[in-house]
Symmetry: C4
Subunit: 263 residues, 4 copies
């Protein structure tokens, strides 16, 4: 086996019996996870000022590993029949979603003249977290989720459209009720929409709420209507899961007595 | 084909192969959408003062198009067998829900002596958004929603009645607990109902909450009871979706006695 | 037919073709509804001071009607085979839940020496609202609700027990985290339980919340755990509705081909 | 029957016809419950200062009973075939989850040199509450819950992972939007995560919320996305209950080909 072929095997871990490949991937996933922790903790002033050197060294180390991985992938991807052509195959691989994520995670480091705020660019490294879903046993579950969402696509879109209409109508209504009494809070319809979202999602921070009697009556009606509307996705998704699971079960079911397939 | 027949075809877009009719309807829907955006942005003081001319011209343009559409519909509706009579048919068409919405969207512009606040009347143009649901592929989904709500009509009404009873009882209870300590917040039962709605929908702005021990105990019990009660619609709608989808599928079932299919 | 038998028919409206009985019951229900509105509006200071006479006359009128109804029921209940005995039958009828509600609604008026605050006693009239559920078409739905709750009794009780355990554990945890920093807010475990209820039901008024880092971390974990736990009732009730509806449908289903029953 | 065998029977109450064992267990459960109440009320300053003696005596009494129970269990556990060996059997029993809970509930009392704050250690007595779930009729329900959670394990883990990713991404996004305007509120990503949890669980205390336009737009999108994601567990668990109940019922199904029953 060529070194390039081995590199591809190690990086993609397609063979579940390949222990080395598995550990390489766990190491890379672990590094992604530590990078996420570093991005999060790096924003804490007190930690940043005290352990600046640690953060910087870890940064440098991560970038080196990720760059090596990216170069390795670009070099070895031609082993995959889909990207076999040395030039166009590599190009197509480079423009895959996952590859672009990987590039976005390292590019800012090498282009200091573009990135003025390196902290902002480190956020791209979070996107590498999506690799986590490729772990075998969760992948099947993810396809179940995707199947349910795809199956119920139109119901979910329609619910979203209805929600947006309720959002806009309630924001307009509230603007006309409250604008005069609270011109600083309900200063415009977009501001009222902030109230609408807070109320319909039942977050209710309390930074903006109606004070007029009419506003309170409408607000109450909108809250209850919204609650019913936001109960729809749970119902739709619940029904979708019941349906999808039954469908998956029904694929090839055989009668134990006569051995024939039951549809 | 007469011009009137063609006009009706273009405005109603009943034939899905009619590309021109499709584009006419997309243009009208797009204009409705832009009107909604204009109504929303038109309330932002800074935008309004700077782009007043743009808003006014767009307003004029929209009204002209919508008026032309309304006249066109009124003229050509007799092509539809349901509204065939030149006078009574047109009258009946004019009093359809959709037609009244369309009229409400343009009328205020032509009656300045009635409408003192033109901003308030522009809100009627939002109602034209309901035309959006007539788009073919979402229409089928909407009928599913409508079927579920119709099927579960009585359960939903009963839940609403139970909620209202809980709302009123909890508001009265809270009024007697908190009125003495917070006479400005829980000043009357209607005021307490505002607290009840906030709490039962779990919005909780924080402008009004119990402070007495008894009030907190009752509030806790009401919150938990309310949460269970508000879990009912999700459960009912979920069961309704499961039921309706199974009904629509008409799964081929076989009688265990004679082995024939049951529809 | 005797007058007593007719009175019983009018008050109970057991025969759905009896138009007079139907209207008598609608009148009584309407009066109950108006009483509820009067109780609610009677607490608004401005309305009370201006329309005191109206409220008082309506009060007197309602009490007279309700008293007449109560006496009528007590007199005529012996027509029902279940309460046929003139003395013990009437006693048993008087101790039914509905009858006690009716008595509670009128008794305070006749016992001024007991009731110090007549406003507080008027709240009992709200309880007459429960008569609303006896309206035929909603009664069947209510039995569905009752069947689902009875069927899922143990699941719901266990969920409630688990919730209480989470409530108590989180309150204790939060007390040890926050007591030192916010001794006025988290002054004791019962006070912390108020926070727990607010958080687990996601109401979140904002009058009490953790400020320490440890408190915030625990609070976050508790919120997410609580959200999952409070998703249980919706799931249980949803499954219960699916189950109950299928069970009701399956009662006596016949094959259209051979006419035999399908289990 | 030996005294040791009888002690084991009394403490474990394996035989549901053994009335004495049932009452011993009810007494122990009741004492656990009273201990929980005592732990909660013991934190209320006014009660503690007035009834200190009562609390102390009850404490002493409880510890004695619980110690006696623990010693009894340790002495008699060899009656159970699983823990038959006098030394290793007892050791294995002592390291069971339930036994460790029991030990944690009494140990702090006997180790004053370790426990500096006896109040903090009393919290372990709450953990004895888990014995409550061993009550027969709820045990079956608990196994249903456990079966559903186990069956849907991977879906729930994946939902949790997706939630965490949304949590982290939204916290980072918000930090970059709001840090400059509200450096005291959104001071770091961990602080923003507190906002994310508050918002995604829809608690919304109101101690921290976005004020910039961009922050509000992202916040609105995150709220709606989060609401959909948090509707997933309800849907998954609902589907899980439907599935599990159907599985337990083992509905007699017939093969359409040979007509025989399929288990």
């Amino acid at each position: 086996m060529s070194a390039r072929s081995r590199a591809w095997q190690l990086l993609e871990a397609t063979d579940s019996n390949d222990t080395v490949a598995k550990w390489v991937n766990y190491f890379l996933l672990g590094l992604v996870f530590l990078n996420v922790v570093a991005v999060i903790l790096g924003t804490v002033e007190s930690l940043q000022s005290r352990y600046r050197a640690c953060f910087d060294y870890f940064e440098l180390f991560s970038i080196m590993i990720f760059s090596a991985e990216y170069i390795g992938r670009m070099w070895s991807c031609v082993e995959d029949p889909r990207f076999a052509h040395p030039v166009t195959g590599r190009f197509r691989y480079a423009f895959h979603f996952m590859s672009l994520m990987d590039l976005a995670a390292i590019l800012p480091f090498f282009t200091p003249f573009i990135a003025t705020d390196t902290r902002a660019t480190r956020i791209f490294r979070l996107l590498r977290l999506v690799r986590i879903v490729k772990i075998g046993r969760y992948y099947k579950t993810l396809t179940l989720f995707a199947a349910v969402v795809r199956e119920k696509r139109e119901e979910l879109i329609l619910t979203t459209v209805l929600m947006f209409m309720l959002l806009i109508l309630s924001a307009c209504l509230m603007y006309y009720c409250e604008n005069e009494v609270q011109p600083d809070k309900f200063s415009s319809v977009p501001q009222s929409m902030w109230w609408s979202i807070e109320t319909l999602t039942t977050v209710g921070y309390g930074d903006i709420y109606p004070v007029t009697t009419l506003g309170k009556i409408f607000s109450g009606m909108i809250s209850i209507l919204g609650l019913g509307m936001f109960a729809l996705p749970a119902g739709i998704l619940g029904a979708g899961f019941v349906e999808e699971i039954q469908k998956r079960k029904k694929i090839a079911k055989y009668c134990p007595h006569c051995g024939k397939e039951i549809q």
